[in-house]
């Protein structure tokens, strides 16, 4: 056990202050009552506007499990159809919609939201925070996901569900071969999922880095938090690629811009690159939080510290990095250059190294402890076995000659289900059984849990083990039926029986939940003797006081911690500002930096989510006017939501315990808002990077030379963008002297980026390069459209600053808004320079 007062300080914080904790003596009366009143639960219809993670986390996990069950029902329909050859349970077109929706719902509406939900539910308690730093953002992400997801799912009932497979390859999904709006439902329907996932990722990154309990340096950070941090970072890097891909395909379908149309210089391979740059990391995005849960659960059920903890941390980080280097192994059969195929094959095999480190660490922990074979323990062991089997077939598929044989057969279906069920579903069920006592007044039934495990484990192998065989026997994926007499009858029948056995396991779990799950009240306590902070006695305000952490396993190593935390002997034992608040700490050593006032529940984020989902769904059914109105209303709701931010409290500094005084207002890099803006801009930058990649890719495939207008206008556009950067920087520099000048500079920066964009667009239009003419026209106009979108958002932000100034909300005592708007406008100007430069640079070089 290490003492946090040792070593160098990260922020200049005097670590000897830690020696004052736990404090002595009684706390003043009324502190607990004040906390209860401030963090009180919703009453009646207020449950809709709740933002506390204790509520949103449960809603979120519940919604994800609902989609798991719905997608599972679709799987049963598929297996009923395939149980016998030439079966007639489903018409062919319906089957196409069902397998597409099964994959899409499982990947986008279950897997990613489920692990994100687990993070929202568990992280505040694990980190010792009162809540994550942007609770309304979590709530917004949840509602956008739920409303949009349900509407998307209902497309099945109208025969409008997408039918091109969950990865929607063009040209199959072009208007030529998919003329209805089914494909549009997919392309626009997952728009809100992308927004929701990124919003959740921002929340998780900032939460993990900035709201850990004092003393919880990186070496003492819970392994689940490590996994969630890498997971969220991967979402920020990977999701922009699918945002761009879906936007381009929808532009092609709606406006005839030929990104993927080979007859006009486009290339369907671009879709595959963009999709799989997201799609393969997506597998690890799903797997890592589950691996984090496994690494948390195994020490508890084996009653031993995780063997090789720091190596498991490294394995998470390494997985996060290398997962971005394996996307083309989904494309081995597309005719990539031989050396590229070799590189991707090698990288695909290398990714098994960090996965192997984790598996061996888990096995060693189980071997070194005294394993309890309770329900979480059984799911953990089941997961290990299934995941290793899936991993081994993954190494087989990473070998190119084998992949050529197995590609698009049921062997791959078996492989991916072994990986995803072993790597995510079983750990999720282990997590549900393990952490239910934290959020429910009753734990789930051990007896029913064993039945659930047994049926799911047996059903899983019955369903998917024979698929290896049917795949190697030549049965292709996504077929509606198969001919008799090819020895495929028996493996398919066994697979179908297995699917129903698996479903029976899930049904038993549902019965268990209905009988025993009782959330939002008291909790059942630490029934599994878990060592993490989440098992401290807690209420809706989280723990009574925020502990000083000196161990990776605080409840095992820090004596009397639960007693002292409950007695208010650590940080923030009351509510010194009289409102909701949490501690903000430094990102490496978790040293206290300031106090973060947190919002109260309101309806604005819910309305924003409703209108965001409405925007995408109305766009799908081509109700353009209604869609624009819905989008405008969403923007209005977001502005109203932001309006209550950035208001300094009357108390500049407050005592957070033992005489430690912390500021109640922060701006710049120590503030959570600054981090959130930077991460948002990384997302935007990744979309930009992928659009430059798309430009270069299409340019490299072109047989005709590409040209670009280079002249005096080019220099003018570059100059205007540089001036905008300067103005955005100056805006916050002059805030102390003159708020009026600040507003002027911000507005001017917005005008300069807008003028630069308009001039660049006009210059391109002057060349006669129409967006539907060829691939260059399409990609140039797509980049311009992306810049135009940012210019519009920048204009809204500049207008927002003007409005705040008119209300007297711009001043040197509240620089955060100005800094964040300035940061955004500077980025827009930078993006303008890239949009200007990249097409001209490559047009100047003959492909």
């Amino acid at each position: 056990m290490s003492v946090p007062s040792e070593g160098r300080s990260e922020t200049g914080f005097d670590r000897s202050i830690y020696d004052r904790f736990p404090t002595k003596g009684r706390r003043p009366k009324g502190e607990v009552e004040a906390l209860e009143a401030i963090w009180c639960g919703p009453k009646g219809w207020q449950w809709i506007t709740a933002i506390n993670n204790n509520f949103i986390g449960v809603y979120y996990v519940g919604a994800a499990m609902l989609f798991f069950v719905l997608a599972g029902v679709l799987a049963l329909l598929m297996r009923a159809q395939l149980a016998l050859p030439l079966n007639g349970v489903l018409p062919q077109e319906t089957y196409n919609q069902i397998f597409t929706m099964h994959g899409t719902v499982m990947m986008f509406l279950f897997a990613v939201p489920a692990v994100e939900a687990l993070g929202v539910l568990l992280l505040p308690q694990m980190l010792g925070a009162r809540d994550l730093p942007f609770p309304r953002l979590s709530a917004y992400a949840f509602w956008a996901y739920l409303i949009g997801g349900l509407a998307f799912f209902c497309s099945l009932f109208f025969g409008l569900a997408p039918n091109g497979g969950w990865f929607m390859y063009p040209p199959l999904t072009s208007t030529t071969y998919s003329p209805g709006i089914n494909a549009d439902f997919w392309l626009l329907g997952i728009g809100f999922i992308e927004i929701s996932a990124i919003a959740g990722a921002i929340e998780i990154i900032v939460g993990v880095l900035k709201t850990r309990a004092p003393g919880m340096g990186l070496d003492k950070m819970p392994i689940f938090a490590w996994a969630m941090l890498v997971f969220a970072g991967m979402i920020v890097i990977a999701f922009p690629s699918v945002i761009l891909a879906t936007t381009l395909l929808e532009l092609e379908r709606a406006l005839n811009w030929p990104f993927f149309d080979a007859t006009r210089g486009g290339d369907p391979m671009l879709w595959q690159h963009l999709f799989w740059f997201f799609g393969h990391p997506e597998v690890y995005i799903i797997f890592l939080p589950a691996a984090g849960a496994m690494s948390t659960l195994i020490p508890a059920v084996a009653r031993a510290p995780l063997v090789g903890h720091w190596m498991v941390v490294l394995a998470f980080l390494a997985t996060g990095f290398i997962s971005f280097g394996v996307w083309a192994h989904h494309m081995f059969t597309t005719g990539l250059p031989g050396t590229s195929v070799g590189v991707f094959s090698a990288a695909s095999m290398a990714v098994s190294l960090p996965a192997g480190v984790q598996v061996f660490a888990w096995i060693a922990t189980v071997a070194s402890g005294k394993m309890r074979f309770n329900t979480p323990g059984l799911f953990v062991l089941g997961s290990l076995l299934i995941f290793v089997m899936g991993g081994l077939t993954g190494v087989m598929a990473a070998m190119v000659p084998f992949d050529w044989q197995a590609h698009d057969t049921y062997f791959i279906v078996a492989h991916l289900h072994y990986v995803l069920i072993g790597g995510m579903v079983f750990p999720l069920f282990a997590a549900i059984y393990y952490w239910t006592p934290m959020v429910s007044s009753r734990p789930l039934s051990e007896r029913l849990g064993r039945w659930t495990f047994g049926l799911m484990f047996a059903g899983m192998h019955l369903a998917f083990l024979p698929m290896h065989l049917s795949g190697l026997m030549g049965m292709p994926r996504r077929v509606w039926t198969y001919a008799p007499g090819r020895d495929l009858e028996l493996p398919n029948l066994i697979s179908s029986i297995g699917a129903f056995v698996f479903a029976a396991g899930v049904l038993v779990w549902i019965i268990d939940m209905v009988r025993n799950f009782r959330p939002f009240g008291s909790d059942a306590g630490n029934v599994y003797d878990g060592p993490g902070l989440e098992w401290l006695p807690a209420e809706l305000y989280s723990t009574r006081s925020i502990p000083l952490v000196t161990s990776l396993y605080p409840l095992w190593d820090q004596k009397n911690l639960a007693r002292d935390v409950k007695a208010g002997r650590y940080f923030l034992p009351g509510a010194p500002t009289g409102g909701r608040e949490t501690l903000v700490t430094s990102p490496v050593e978790a040293e206290p930096q300031h106090l973060l006032p947190m919002p109260k529940p309101s309806g604005w984020h819910v309305w924003a989510a409703v209108f965001t989902a409405g925007f995408f769904l109305l766009l799908t059914v081509q109700a353009y006017a209604a869609s624009v109105l819905s989008g405008a209303l969403a923007v209005y709701c977001v502005i109203r939501w932001c309006w209550f931010l950035d208001h300094p409290l009357p108390q500049n500094d407050v005592d957070v315990g033992a005489g430690l005084m912390l500021r109640t207002y922060a701006s710049g890099p120590s503030s959570t808002g600054w981090w959130a803006m930077v991460i948002t801009l990384v997302v935007a930058g990744m979309v930009l990077a992928m659009s430059v990649f798309s430009y270069v890719f299409l340019w490299s495939r072109s047989t005709a030379p590409w040209t670009a207008p280079i002249g005096i206008e080019t220099a003018v556009v570059a100059g205007m963008n540089l001036v905008a950067v300067l103005l955005a920087w100056l805006a916050s520099r002059v805030l102390g002297r003159s708020p009026r000048l600040t507003v002027l500079f911000t507005t001017a920066a917005g005008l300069f980026v807008a003028a630069a964009w308009a001039l660049d667009l006009k210059t391109w239009q002057g060349t006669g390069l129409a967006p539907d003419l060829n691939a260059q026209g399409a990609i140039v106009h797509a980049m311009q459209a992306w810049q135009g979108f940012f210019v519009a958002v920048g204009a809204i932000m500049a207008g927002y600053v003007v409005l705040r100034w008119l209300f007297g909300y711009v001043g040197p005592d509240r620089p955060a808004t100005i800094q964040l708007v300035g940061l955004f406008l500077a980025y827009v100007a930078f993006q303008g320079l890239v949009t200007l430069g990249a097409p001209r640079l490559f047009a100047a070089v003959a492909a």
Partner: protein, 99 residues
Amino acid sequence: MSAWRALLAGLSVWLLHFAIVYLLPSLDAIGALPPRVLDIAHVAVTLACLAAAAGVALAAWRRAKDGDPGAAFRHRVAALGAALAGVAIVWQAAPALFN
């Protein structure tokens, strides 16, 4: 940020090497440079990245003996990450080198 940079330096070298060995065959495919030049570039980039990974690993391993347990943890992770990067760099360079 310097702590994070040090922690992720080895893995970043790995990613950089990957990006370059992905780019080089693409340049070959469009005939941008003669194959001989690309082969030399491949070897040079691999050696440079290996040297960088080794440098990161050694520096981090030395610092891992620091008395501060938090810093020692970070340097250990960084050192092993760089070592892992070295193995992966050799592995992913092999297809091009033996092509």
